[in-house]
């Protein structure tokens, strides 16, 4: 009945899962739904992903990695002033999270249930991002723009201090018009703390 039977790959399953999640949300999306969307039996999905949790994790990882790469581009742009880079990097992080929460609330919700069930993956993602910040701060210390004893520690502090603007738990305040002003004020305060005195 089917025309060309395309091979069932992990990639195709992830694509379909994302679509199902977008439509049904994490609470109601089942692997049976995913299989139905692909026109295969759910047993076939289990050939590629050992559990439903693994599938959810893979979807979230892809999603997390996309953010990470965009930011890495900013962080790695060594031609630019470290201070401007850090400012942009933090703004890009805030903007990315805010946009994703607004555009795909259901997918975003999936990511939030993930945070609770799979600390490891999220932990790695945060370590990755913190590492990017540390890189920018190191460049700033090298150029004399910043003066701090340990860039890694400061990076952690900066990341945690800005939690309100990237932690999913705060997604509701991102819609508040005051959020942008608050963000600016906080970033300036942090930059003053990093600068050489």
């Amino acid at each position: 009945m089917a025309a060309t039977t395309v091979t069932l790959t992990a990639e195709r399953i992830l694509e379909a899962t994302e679509e199902v999640l977008r439509r049904h949300g994490p609470a109601k999306a089942t692997v049976v739904d995913v299989a139905r969307a692909l026109g295969v039996s759910h047993g076939s999905v289990y050939r590629h992903f050992r559990t439903k949790a693994a599938l959810r994790e893979a979807v979230s990882k892809r999603w997390l990695d996309r953010t990470s790469e965009t930011l890495a581009d900013i962080a790695a742009d060594t031609g630019r002033d470290p201070e401007a880079r850090l400012r942009d990097w933090l703004a890009a992080l805030f903007e990315a999270k805010r946009r994703k929460a607004g555009d795909d609330p259901e997918l975003f919700a999936t990511y939030m249930v993930l945070s609770e069930e799979s600390g490891a993956l999220v932990g790695e993602h945060i370590a990755d991002l913190t590492g990017q910040v540390a890189g920018i701060i190191e460049a700033g210390v090298a150029s004399g723009a910043f003066a701090v004893p340990d860039p890694a520690t400061e990076a952690r502090a900066v990341f945690q201090a800005t939690g309100r603007f990237h932690d999913p738990a705060y997604r509701d305040v991102w819609r508040d018009p005051e959020a942008d002003g608050d963000f600016e004020a906080l970033v300036e305060l942090l930059l003053r703390g990093l600068r050489a005195s």
Copy 2:
């Protein structure tokens, strides 16, 4: 059967409600339970509090106010160095929240459901605390220890930046042994940002 019939006051009801909440938690505590604990009918409770939500709110307000007063003492101690005062104030806030979350998890949970349903009360509490921080920063500006354009804005930024150490949503990380080091590093970064350069 009862010995001396004591008058039923709002205060006594709050006391009993706190006890019921501590034992049953916010999800299972009913006003019938509260009435039973006091040996009265639940109709009597409604004479003092118009709704269950109002009762919950009153309990939480008392609870919030106690924290507020302790901190106000530190903030108002104008004899001391503003920098040390801010450091202590933030540490006291963190410590108070951490202790409450650990000692009375059920009461703490009550406060968390309150945050979601009654933004106004929590908003006032936060405005109060932010005001205390602003006071300390103003003193610092006056003494020349700090150099910032607008103490109120900086106070907001400081309060938001330290959210990880006082926002109930983060109660799980407060148990992490790394939390104290993270807190110290963040406070130092913020203080450097406030200091005159």
